[in-house]
């Protein structure tokens, strides 16, 4: 029996617009994943610590405020420091095109802008989450 993919969905920064985070959390849960929603106002430290405690395979960050170029590199750096390099990080929100190469360069490839079908996100995570042993 294969184990469920474990996903931490987090809202970093000060923004409280959590519609997207909550809809995705439910969609992933309905797709058979184990979803842990951190709630609002999480620092990168809190998010990485949640991923560690929850033995997460995937971290989903929801960012609409424009703070992604500050938050994402910090999360990636902390994951590396904790030896969690194999945790897949995906982000959803308002991410300008010009930032895509910079995010790709730090190892984030799953980037979903407004209008992305939920199924596309489910498929991406299913295909890219680290293998559970």
């Amino acid at each position: 029996m294969s184990q469920k993919i474990r996903v931490v969905i987090a809202k970093p920064g000060l923004d409280g617009h959590d519609r997207g985070a909550k809809v995705i959390a439910r969609a992933l849960r309905d797709a058979g994943m184990e979803v842990i929603y951190t709630g609002l106002r999480q620092t990168p430290e809190m998010i990485v610590s949640a991923a560690l405690q929850e033995d997460a395979d995937v971290i989903g960050l929801s960012i609409l405020s424009g703070a992604h170029m500050h938050i994402c590199p910090r999360v990636m750096q902390l994951l590396k420091e904790k030896g969690l390099d194999d945790v897949q990080v995906v982000i959803g929100g308002i991410i300008p095109d010009v930032d895509l190469p910079k995010l790709n360069a730090i190892g984030i490839r799953g980037i979903f802008i407004p209008g992305t079908p939920m199924q596309q996100i489910v498929d991406y995570i299913t295909a890219n989450a680290r293998a559970r042993v």
């Binding site: 409280g16 519609r19 969609a27 405020s65 938050i71």
Partner: protein, 557 residues
């Protein structure tokens, strides 16, 4: 008892039988579902039979007459057009001041300030959670010094200003009052609005700081302060906009927002205020989403629900307490990142719905707002959209042009009935504060947003350019990119401010604020002193955090 329309032999049944059924046999209807964007089923046709239950002289009446379904002004927009109020703010106070000067030059008739997230959350830019947030989603205002920069060269005696600020509303309002004072403007004469609506923050937008009860006290303190000192100020803008953006239905937006309004009135009355002393200065703020007729019905229903509740539930005697005034913003959430020029059309239709619903003030979104804050050019097109409706379409020549439409009147009545059902549930919980503490409206909104998303995935709801009519070869548009310059400027200024001001005076005024917070005096009084001493938003909020603590929600998904 069966309603009139259900009985066999009505004109509508005859028409269905003799005209529609043979026609359907030849060519069936499209697959449907024929529902509003909120999932409300819509019938094929509405006739006089659908409105037989409505007593028009009592329940609808004429414009300017109770219960104001047809509008609060007897002359509609023939007297005064709605205020064209474009929400704007980004970067440093100087950059935003320039945008305001542009909007005024382009014919905008009111200002509307968007603050950045640190300001909205009562944090100074050097707090760890402000990483990358300073000046991004709005303008950064840390202290009185920034407020002076924001309104430099703009006469507060002449312009009306709306400020979207909630938890730190008393601090920001105090800053505005001190700038007005510096300009020599009379507090008794100035006008504008602070959003100051904490309940919808707990329900939807989540920019709360303190727990619900002390938050409600800050609001009733403002009601009491303004009734005496700033009588023309709109002390609150009870907002459905954010509830809708978070995914509610049109009905939920209406029901929860007005129930929030009742909660504020109740808390004001409980604080010892007379209804007619503060309710006339309460205003509302609704969304205008894409379902044209449902939105129009929502605004018409809102006016009657409020008028009847103020008169019957609270015994208000002043007609100004009965008259619901509202601002509208087109639905940000309906804008698409794909084929963004289509957003101009969406916004125009939504704006038209708001106007046909009798809005008192309007913000139209810019085409690029699914991607970024608007550029100067796109913000101008948004304003022009309103001007075209106002001056070219002809809809402003007549008051409530859709009044008497079977469909609109029936839909208005349905929105009223649905709202009263929601109010019964919330009243049964003990009120809106209690309902929020139980997570009730939060759960309702989360459920609706998920149902809508599933309908989009199944293509039951078509979003042009997103799940249908997709264009593969889209060219990207240029948009506003806000870098970190504002953050650097504001951080440097914060350090300089703490060097140059009288820090003893700051400490004394903050201590006085905490004392009043622990007791029962009006918090606006010590806040004005903190502001005059150039205490920062973060410092003032921290002084209150120490007394009242911070609210943390249990997330509902």
């Amino acid at each position: 008892m069966k309603s009139v329309a259900d009985r066999a032999g009505t004109r509508k049944n005859r028409w269905e039988r003799e005209v529609v059924e043979p026609a359907l046999r030849k060519s069936p209807e499209r697959k449907g579902p024929f529902t509003t964007i909120s999932g409300r089923p819509i019938e094929r046709l509405y006739t006089a039979e659908d409105v037989e239950g409505i007593n028009f002289s009592r329940d609808v009446n004429e414009p300017g007459e109770f219960p104001y379904v047809r509008g609060i002004h007897p002359t509609g927009y023939r007297g005064k057009l709605w205020t064209m109020r474009q929400f704007a703010g980004f970067g440093t106070p100087e950059e935003t001041n320039q945008r305001y000067q542009d909007l005024i030059a382009a014919g905008g008739t009111g200002l509307s300030v968007a603050f950045d997230l640190p300001t909205l959350m009562g944090r100074d830019p050097d707090h760890e959670l402000c990483l990358g947030e300073v000046g991004k989603c709005g303008v950064s205002v840390m202290s009185l010094a920034d407020m002076e920069r924001l309104f430099a060269g703009i006469s507060l005696a002449e312009i009306t200003t709306s400020m979207t600020i909630n938890s730190p509303a008393p601090m920001i309002f105090a800053m505005y009052l001190v700038v007005a004072e510096q300009q020599g403007a009379d507090w008794k004469a100035i006008s504008g609005t602070i959003q100051n609506d904490i309940l919808k923050e707990f329900i939807a937008q989540k920019e709360y700081i303190f727990p619900p009860r002390p938050s409600m006290r800050l609001i009733t303190d403002i009601f009491a302060f303004c009734a005496k000192e700033v009588p023309k100020w709109n002390t609150i803008s009870v907002s459905g906009y954010h509830i809708r953006e978070a995914g509610s239905t049109s009905l939920q937006e209406l029901a929860f927002t007005l129930r929030d309004g009742l909660e504020y009135v109740q808390y004001g009355v409980d604080a010892g205020l007379d209804v007619d002393d503060f309710v006339p200065r309460m205003s509302f703020f609704f969304n205008s989403h894409s379902d044209f007729f449902e939105e129009i019905a929502k605004y018409r229903a809102a006016r009657r629900l409020w008028a009847e509740a103020m008169k019957n539930r609270f015994g208000a005697k002043n007609p100004r307490s009965w008259q619901l005034r509202f601002h509208t913003q087109t639905a940000g959430v309906s804008l698409t990142a794909q084929q963004p020029y289509n957003n101009v059309v969406r916004t125009a239709l939504q704006a038209l719905a708001a106007v046909l619903g009798g809005t008192n003030s309007l913000h139209t979104n810019s085409l690029d707002e699914a991607l970024a804050l608007p550029t100067r050019e796109t913000a101008t097109i948004a304003l022009r959209t309103q001007q075209i409706i106002a001056h070219e379409s002809g809809v402003t020549n007549v008051v409530d042009p859709l009044g008497g439409s079977y469909f609109i009147e029936k839909l208005t009545q349905d929105m009223i009935d649905g709202t009263l059902k929601y109010w019964e549930i919330i009243d049964g919980m003990g009120g809106m504060v209690e309902a929020i503490e139980r997570g009730y409206p939060q759960k309702e909104v989360a459920e609706s947003s998920y149902l809508f998303q599933q309908a989009v995935e199944r293509k039951e709801k078509v979003i042009v350019g997103v799940n249908d009519f997709i264009q593969a070869d889209e060219k990207p548009i240029e948009f506003l990119y806000i870098d970190d310059t504002a953050s650097e400027v504001q951080l440097k200024r914060l350090a300089e401010l703490k060097q140059s001001r009288d820090n003893d005076r700051v400490r004394r005024t903050l201590a006085a604020l905490a004392d009043v917070a622990r007791g029962s005096g009006n918090t606006m009084v010590p806040l004005l002193e903190c502001v005059r001493a150039y205490a920062t938003v973060g410092e003032m909020c921290d002084a209150l955090r120490e007394v009242w603590g911070e609210y943390e929600e249990v997330p509902v998904i």
